[in-house]
């Protein structure tokens, strides 16, 4: 079962539909109305996109820390930032803002599930970004914006934590389904 924590975003149900392609059993609830019985049963926890920054969501941070290493955790956009924030990364404003922006992303690490140097188009909706350099044991930044070099994906294959700054569910993202399929079967 996949448990989606919704941060009241207007893209969460696109994610629900995308993940439903790979798992019939999906639960989606607001971050402030978590059903812990269901959450405990889930194999995968997904942290949705949403407005604001990770520090605005202490409940989600608690959940992340509690279930890390116990379940596979995937974060998208705000969810990606929540993962990094809870691994002592700093989330900061960026000068150029990307909302509804299609840009090229490149796989930059050999440790990624995806083939290195692969370039593809993605849809982005974010005002904030990860402050770098960022170092954390087992965590690897695996994709970057081809132009600005901003971190676009993080992977921790040992603890099964994955995050995308861009939106795999957006109609602007090429092969979004493939990305999700690979991560779910990893």
């Amino acid at each position: 079962m996949i448990y989606i924590i919704d941060h009241k975003d207007s893209f969460t149900h696109n994610i629900v539909h995308q993940f439903a392609k790979f798992d019939r059993n999906i639960e989606c609830e607001n971050f402030n109305k978590i059903n812990y019985t269901k959450l405990n049963k889930a194999d995968v926890i997904l942290l949705s996109p949403g407005p604001g920054s990770p520090k605005d969501y202490p409940i989600t941070s608690k959940i992340y820390k509690k279930y890390k290493k116990k379940k596979k955790i995937i974060g998208i956009c705000l969810g990606f930032q929540q993962i990094l924030f809870n691994e002592n990364g700093e989330i900061i404003k960026q000068n150029k803002i990307y909302h509804g922006f299609q840009s090229l992303v490149k796989v930059t690490s050999k440790k990624s599930l995806f083939s290195i140097n692969k370039v593809f188009k993605v849809g982005r909706y974010h005002s904030l970004k990860l402050k770098e350099p960022f170092f954390c044991k087992n965590f690897e930044i695996t994709m970057r914006c081809k132009i600005s070099n901003v971190a676009m994906a993080v992977e921790n294959q040992i603890d099964q934590v994955y995050g995308f700054q861009f939106h795999p569910e957006s109609f602007l993202t090429e092969n979004g389904n493939l990305l999700i399929k690979k991560i779910l079967s990893a």
Partner: protein, 400 residues
């Protein structure tokens, strides 16, 4: 259009009626046997009543009317702080008994046998302006709000937000006269008018928010408008939209948001873009449009559909709920019908609704025209303020 004796008499009577634009003409609804004024207490009952109705497919078994912005917020559990308002109803739905198809020929159908004798006293009202139009937010205030929202965007609290400004005058209007005048210059696909005893609405709304037939549900967001000149054509308009980063970003965001809203009530895997980012041509402008559709899940109620889709994302901003909260904290005056929805619900659950924009509401002898335009990081306060005025101007000009 040919002069029609019945219509002329209807227009000059005091009878309430509604006109709604359809493909190839207009439908006029009148002889209302019921009028339901909605509030937060009775709205659930209103939805339940329709679900339980029998004779689902009988002629004219439908309610036609509108939801205000406020009641749509409330349905989404978004509260609005106390605002200046005229106590205009939060929504009204009518049950019509007569329908007149206005096409090349006029076709009248009614459940009343003597429908053509149902006229009272004949009157003809002229349009009279008592005070000139005034805007409720001046440029300095507008700049302040604009900068505040730009800050919120940079913090990621909202990705896009639309500031509403209002133009108001004191006036007595003949809504029939204004509506047909407007239809000569801008017969946009979701135009409508309502004339009732104590208010009227005249609208050339362009955007279809919900079109539901059986299991299929469609929406057609518009993001991007270009005025026609002698040098533009459809191909050039498409080139303009594709190469304009601001329009493209806004459009993309709306498409993902509408996909999301449909996904709440549709079966997984059925939500599709049936026509992506194309140009529709109208008499005076071009719109940048995407068509999205899906197949409904089982056991979705009428209320579920309304709550999932309304208020329509393209006139609010994104993400919807946090943006609504930011807007409501900021706006000191009720939006009334603006960014609400007008349309009909048949007893069998089929429905069509628009997003109410480009509209005149005349109530208590005050005409108000609300307009909004988007704050995204690439826009400037002065540009958007002017853009708002241009949007209002075509309606203000009707009073000349």
């Amino acid at each position: 259009m040919k002069k029609n004796y019945y219509l002329e008499k209807l227009y000059n009577s005091k009878k309430p009626f509604i006109i709604y634009k359809v493909n190839g003409g207009y439908d006029l609804y009148t002889d209302f046997s019921k009028k339901i004024i909605l509030n937060n207490k009775n709205i659930n009952n209103f939805f339940n009543k329709i679900e339980k109705k029998k004779n689902k497919n009988k002629f004219l078994n439908l309610y036609i009317g509108f939801f205000s912005y406020e009641i749509l917020c409330n349905l989404n559990n978004v509260k609005i702080p106390k605002q200046k308002n005229l106590n205009f109803p939060k929504g009204i739905f009518y049950k019509p008994e007569t329908k007149i198809k206005i096409r090349k020929n006029i076709n009248i159908k009614s459940t009343h046998q003597n429908y053509n004798q149902l006229f009272g006293k004949q009157v003809f009202n002229l349009n009279r302006i008592l005070t000139p139009f005034k805007v409720n937010i001046d440029i300095n205030k507008y700049k302040k709000i604009f900068n505040q929202f730009t800050k919120r965007i940079k913090e990621g609290k909202t990705y896009q937000i639309k500031i509403c400004t209002k133009y108001k005058n004191k006036s007595l209007i003949n809504p029939v006269n204004l509506f047909w005048k407007l239809m000569k210059t801008n017969a946009s696909p979701e135009s409508f008018m309502i004339r009732d005893d104590n208010f009227s609405i005249v609208s050339c709304s362009p955007e279809t928010l919900i079109e539901r037939k059986g299991k299929t549900i469609k929406t057609k967001p518009i993001a991007g408008t270009l005025r026609k000149t002698q040098r533009t054509n459809k191909r050039k308009a498409l080139f303009y939209f594709k190469n304009n980063i601001k329009e493209t970003k806004e459009h993309n965001m709306i498409v993902d948001m509408e996909r999301n809203d449909l996904s709440k009530i549709c079966k997984p895997g059925t939500v599709k873009l049936s026509k992506t980012k194309y140009v529709e041509e109208y008499k005076h402008l071009y719109h940048y449009v995407t068509k999205i559709e899906g197949m409904m899940k089982k056991n979705v109620s009428i209320k579920d559909i309304i709550v999932a889709m309304m208020p329509g994302g393209s006139v609010i901003g994104c993400p919807k709920i946090s943006t609504l909260n930011l807007l409501n904290l900021q706006e000191k005056e009720s939006r009334n019908i603006f960014t609400g929805s007008f349309g009909f619900i048949k007893f069998n659950g089929d429905m069509r609704f628009n997003i109410i924009i480009r509209s005149i509401l005349n109530y208590k002898n005050i005409s108000e025209i609300s307009v909004a335009s988007g704050v995204v990081v690439d826009s400037t306060a002065i540009h958007e303020f002017k853009e708002n005025y241009i949007k209002a101007k075509s309606l203000i000009d009707l009073y000349k």
